[in-house]
Point group: C2
Amino acid sequence: MATGAVTLYIATSVDGYIADAEGKIEWLSEFPSTDDLGFSEFFETVDCLVMGSTTYEQVLGFGEWPYGEKPTYVFTSQERSPATNEVTFVNDAVAQKTAALKEQFDHIWLVGGASLTESFLNEQQVDTLQLTQLPVLLGEGIPLFAGGYDRQRLELNDTTSHEGGVVELTYKLP
Amino acid sequence: MATGAVTLYIATSVDGYIADAEGKIEWLSEFPSTDDLGFSEFFETVDCLVMGSTTYEQVLGFGEWPYGEKPTYVFTSQERSPATNEVTFVNDAVAQKTAALKEQFDHIWLVGGASLTESFLNEQQVDTLQLTQLPVLLGEGIPLFAGGYDRQRLELNDTTSHEGGVVELTYKLP
């Protein structure tokens, strides 16, 4: 029986973008660092990571692999070589793979991006939305939410104000 | 010299929609009423309203005109008959008309919708964003922000938690 939970923890602009028009996230650097936004405490609770292939490419662009020894599953249909021994590429259906991961791990971080988020929402595999809203209008880019999933009522769990006008909203899904 | 200020005060879903796929806003009715979300206090500060033609049609659908005797300017290229004596149809450029309204009125409420919001942001005519975020993922609909304006850094001015998991975020534009 599945027991783990999935949290979509991600930063967006006020107009809902997670990356600029070129898919880049340099615009994040003008805001407080993730350390100051409570990322470390969140990350300590995480047992495994899942991400899409575009997000994986972005993370590779950071240089050193930033997620230590936490098991990371990258949903992709392409053959790749993993950045570290902890990275596994999966090409399974989202619902099936997530059910298996939930049996194995207590807390799964859905890192992004938009496409994998849509699949997870569509398959009702997200338990918590933890959205870090950065005080900027980007005006263009890749929106986190582009629809394609069913309407779902949320329960507000927490609001946290960080420095620099950053607001973190946490919602539970039914 | 212009002295008035424009506030975009509007409710969105967590995934950023202001209306469902048919342009309807019945989904709002399952949340606390506007009275419980502080609308009355906001409305008292408003000296005039501006809205686009789709929003105007929505408001007409409410039945009785809900905005009393406050002057209301509807941006539209179509000939129409006004709902009340307070409604004026304008077909001017946004920047030009808004400059004139700012000379005449202290506080202008930009009611919506998405298209007029894009024009106002594009012409840098919005001074305050007051976003009421309702705890639901709609999954489809009309997004408030669809891009098409320049990147603008915001200043978080206020966060308010209302009943029913509704969060109100107020940002100042530069």
